[in-house]
Symmetry: D2
Subunit: 408 residues, 4 copies
Amino acid sequence: MFSQEIELRGHIIDSLILPKVLDEILSHGGNFKIRKIQIGQERTDPSHARLEVSGPSPEVVDDLVRRLRQHGAEPVKEAEAQLAEAPADGVFPQDFYVTTNQQTFVHTHGKWIEVKPTIMDSGIAVDETKLEATAVKFYSVRKGMKCVVGHHGVRVMPLQRATDRPSVFEFMASNVSSEKPKTAVIREIAEEIRRAKEQGGKILVVAGPAVVHTGAGEHLEKLIRCGYVQRLFAGNALAAHDIEQALFGTSLGVYLKHGALADEGHENHMRAINAIRAAGGIAPAVEKGVLSSGIMYQCVKNHVEFVLAGSIRDDGPLPDVITDAIEAQKAMRAKVEGLSIALMMGTMLHSIAVGNLLPAAVKTICVDISPAVVTKLTDRGSFQAIGLVTDIEPFLRELVGFLMPHGS
Amino acid sequence: MFSQEIELRGHIIDSLILPKVLDEILSHGGNFKIRKIQIGQERTDPSHARLEVSGPSPEVVDDLVRRLRQHGAEPVKEAEAQLAEAPADGVFPQDFYVTTNQQTFVHTHGKWIEVKPTIMDSGIAVDETKLEATAVKFYSVRKGMKCVVGHHGVRVMPLQRATDRPSVFEFMASNVSSEKPKTAVIREIAEEIRRAKEQGGKILVVAGPAVVHTGAGEHLEKLIRCGYVQRLFAGNALAAHDIEQALFGTSLGVYLKHGALADEGHENHMRAINAIRAAGGIAPAVEKGVLSSGIMYQCVKNHVEFVLAGSIRDDGPLPDVITDAIEAQKAMRAKVEGLSIALMMGTMLHSIAVGNLLPAAVKTICVDISPAVVTKLTDRGSFQAIGLVTDIEPFLRELVGFLMPHGS
Amino acid sequence: MFSQEIELRGHIIDSLILPKVLDEILSHGGNFKIRKIQIGQERTDPSHARLEVSGPSPEVVDDLVRRLRQHGAEPVKEAEAQLAEAPADGVFPQDFYVTTNQQTFVHTHGKWIEVKPTIMDSGIAVDETKLEATAVKFYSVRKGMKCVVGHHGVRVMPLQRATDRPSVFEFMASNVSSEKPKTAVIREIAEEIRRAKEQGGKILVVAGPAVVHTGAGEHLEKLIRCGYVQRLFAGNALAAHDIEQALFGTSLGVYLKHGALADEGHENHMRAINAIRAAGGIAPAVEKGVLSSGIMYQCVKNHVEFVLAGSIRDDGPLPDVITDAIEAQKAMRAKVEGLSIALMMGTMLHSIAVGNLLPAAVKTICVDISPAVVTKLTDRGSFQAIGLVTDIEPFLRELVGFLMPHGS
Amino acid sequence: MFSQEIELRGHIIDSLILPKVLDEILSHGGNFKIRKIQIGQERTDPSHARLEVSGPSPEVVDDLVRRLRQHGAEPVKEAEAQLAEAPADGVFPQDFYVTTNQQTFVHTHGKWIEVKPTIMDSGIAVDETKLEATAVKFYSVRKGMKCVVGHHGVRVMPLQRATDRPSVFEFMASNVSSEKPKTAVIREIAEEIRRAKEQGGKILVVAGPAVVHTGAGEHLEKLIRCGYVQRLFAGNALAAHDIEQALFGTSLGVYLKHGALADEGHENHMRAINAIRAAGGIAPAVEKGVLSSGIMYQCVKNHVEFVLAGSIRDDGPLPDVITDAIEAQKAMRAKVEGLSIALMMGTMLHSIAVGNLLPAAVKTICVDISPAVVTKLTDRGSFQAIGLVTDIEPFLRELVGFLMPHGS
């Protein structure tokens, strides 16, 4: 929905002005909200009203405003966005505008132009020649770039609720606590994933090592094999423990099959990392037959694009890990385009990092057994994020059961 | 294992005393631990050793001690338990001995007699005529009862690990955290339950309302129907929400089938309570056809003995609820006899209360999504308790799957 | 604010009806919200509007409605509350209305009468002779009582935000998480408590045993001594551990002064209970000089009315404990009158139980180190409850510091 | 303690061999544990015993073993460590030995040599010429390096409890839960810190942004100013929020002084980062007067060496942040030498990362409000780590109070 505020002044109640204005709006495909109405004490005192006129497209709104001006309505002036030059590479001008994860427009040279991509905690660089506005991170700022400063002339379009079909992302008022029934919600999530896949939307999985530790790896493998995953963002730990499991049958030294500790098993993840380093990386290890099962194996076989981002607690790391945090952010950002759904499981660090890169319009599901993590991740001011406080292994098992009722 | 400490003094190293004593013990079916050995600085200085001699029965140990005395060994004297009279009804004598949940013996009139039942945080009343020792709670104390005071002459027998077959209760070093694979452990628990049932052991379920809220009620119903539950201890909330679910399809106003909120659904549990009050209780409601499904229904139909204990946060309550805390403790204590396994799910209050009533020998499984609750409940100094940090619904679903692989 | 819905039909936009109605409302001390406006497609089609007319008193609203009828406005009819007889003692009629913790009015015999007291999860009994409406619990229902059924003719008045001075209960959007600065909030809470005391409001403390375990007992004692506490609701555990601390210097066997475990210290709470049982209760123990320090001692000395409610996990209990849950609810309910502030610390069971008894207007502060507990307790749909996720001992220390800057 | 296993065979019980051996050991400054004793069924059957002979130095043990050989005792042979060549840069030989955080010795060329530094999850490279053993990370491995493989000839020396003075790290059986009194423990920690400072030991603080959010920054500043901190390891977030607080008075947009949200305050941390980027870094910002208070300011002024390690969730980052995870690990590892105490507060990522770098001998204190984090961090198999479940701000306030009783 697009909108424009207008003002009415004078004897708008007494005369026919207000009813006429409302009538015009409604009979030309628009809608209105009365923002403010101030009535004079005496009948003859002038009154004042402020209305937000909205419509399905900027053209409809423009047309409406033109008509209403004939009834004395004045559009509330939109200021132009203020621009200032970046003083140095990597440095924004003082007082630069900081983006949110909502669709954003900048008012410049009399027009509203959309800021692309939609990404939070960036500045906005404006190309006055091409009339383009770009969200830029610190590392992309170059000396002399024109950047938006202050808050004038910037408009954020909050996500609209779909009116046709209520989705699980909308009827869920908030997070699903550990004390709520989850089967119905998981069925709805499966429905969303199936629909996204049918419509060609891409699905991102963000996963922590708990996916492997809890024995949920086999379910994620099935999702990948059946084409329900197009991107995987994770850290060294997920991949290392997955490969440990593929090579030794253990995760952090615990046998997944029977839950017992392996002798010297805590060393297995170090040996797994060593084996992949010796092979020259995950894909080479798959080619050479060193690695022939597991999540990472399925990613290679099914052309899932993965980004493994490093952290200071990593052992190794695997050769595929991007150890530089900024490079890893760039790599993930490059693969965010076209995502419909992000499924985040068992990792606070990666989930927050990815959450910071996603537009609010990407439907996000966050699953963790800790309520604190779920609250932190879904508290993004968007009804497109739902959180489930539950155990990852049974969650993924049930999700796979709904998506592939007859196994795979 | 029974044991007795003995002392050796003199030139026990230099002479042949120590080897002879060890030889005697080992060649007559006993075993030993050297508690302390003190060697004189000079060869001629006397030495001193203290050994714990143990054997499979008190008779073997007695026989050993008799033999060892011939080598100069002196049994370390066991003091008699001291007794004092209770000064008033409901009041123990000062400095009364407080029991643990381990098997306990009292040394009185030269004999070791077992304290029955095994229950923690009680005093010990001794009947000197019958030579019987009874664990008594405050409310059972009567003026003039002879109670053990101080710590002399009381011996606690810690649980011995079974040597024949390692059970899940023994190889589990500690709790199963949320980050561990649980399938293997649940399979083992199913095995223990199946074995307990075959051997005629009784199984107790202690359950909080989360069992119903999470949609796990149907799994518990199956366990009851198939004879895997002989006792149910719970509160008003579990029963009220189960009956709400049976009568209205909701739990705390949430439809379990599709996860949505019912209109005015928060009132349903009040109406459920009202309906049972009108019928005169749970069993009458089953008879009259008012209640025809759910956990409580299955309990009535399958002759599961249940105790519903009241608490100050209860609505209603249901007519079956014992609102007096002490009466409820007595009722539960009366049904603890003969239990093999206690399965505690989603309730801290009831689990701690029941834990306080159980002998350490009852195998206890505690399931909760909060690590804090699981730690609190399993931290009882016994390897007979295991805790799982997981979601109740998938836990019970998987448990039922292992026990009834072809449905029921 | 009182309000009444009215309907307008006909050519309300085209004609002068709508502006006139709005003018009338605003010029006679009222206010309005447009609930619905439906405009005919063609200019000549009739339109329809629904407005909520509100005013500072029922009289103003009545007067306004009378005036608006002259413009063709029709008040939307308020149904009378439906009444039905209770079928038996302790049983409500089917479909009985269930109260919330908000101020509630019943429309009967043409008048709106307030339901007293304000207490949630009760039914409403109406005395048609005296025109009185009473919130009744299950245990107070008597056969033949007239009770409200269904939802017609019942109106709930949500708490209004104070407009004069913003209080900490209002500017706090939600709970204070563990990651927020708390000093400012604690200072505000101290301010509220000081103000409540000055205005003669009563302050209730609801406390769990963690208050004693964490060493916060001495701070609570100071609050009591300085007249900041008029009521204390707790369980056997708080009192027993407080008395254990007073008699032996330990809490659950841990020395509060140096944090070390006492030998056999776990028995101390049993001996503390025994000592009070021997004395005949807490007040007698204070009189006899058995108990001469601690929270309970200060309660007796400073005439703080306390209710100790029993639970099934209690040892003992102390003679002062009300072991019957329903009797304990009644005792607490009787002491809820006149409360301004409720400060709940370290107990989920008692806090929920007390929360169920309090009108929404009582300002409630809930302090616990577990975010789950705080969320559960403050999620009562009222801006009069704030929660702090923090450690109890430093919270109380800082609160006391603000209230008594120069010690006591 | 150093030790060596020896074996005795023959008629060791019947003859005088065993007593003589024990006598020799004890009278020459050694000690023994009987590992195994096997007695023949018949008096004339040979027996077999295995003893661990220990002493305060390798020399004493060597001397003892020499003496015992004269009684027929045979030292159990220690295998030599097996070595294999690294097949490529960055790759260990298969089956390489993985280190722990305990002091470790390698048996090579007939001698026990210590592995330096003590660091977990490394391989061991042996220089056979110099007879030196070095713990190496993956990134330091060079093709052809001789690395230990398998487990033979490697011995780990667990930390010994100090016998002279019991420290808080020893009497604390485990973590301090949220329900325990903490004042006594904090006093002891202050004592340890004071002692470490007096003895010239270095103190490391590892801190997450919660230190700033909770308002604890000022306490940490005092610790730095008074010389109680020599190293600070943190991430971009701690520094950015500290600088936000120094420049704008907010942390994550919340005013620390009065707890209220600043308008557009969520942008402040972006502007803080921008200001430091414009100045060219933290130290230049201090020099230029841009930054004149806060934790980072105090670090610069008091020559505290800090390492800011990047992560993928960082905004900015600040110019001082090392964005490459491996480079950050190296930077931290270089500053770990000479540490006595590590105080970790409010950060799981950095605490685990640093924990992996520290020898077990560094006394570690971990403070967090989440029990899960504390358990994870202190569960390192060492009695040199204690955890406190508490709020960071009051913890630091109280710690500062003990260290600087008269303010600073």
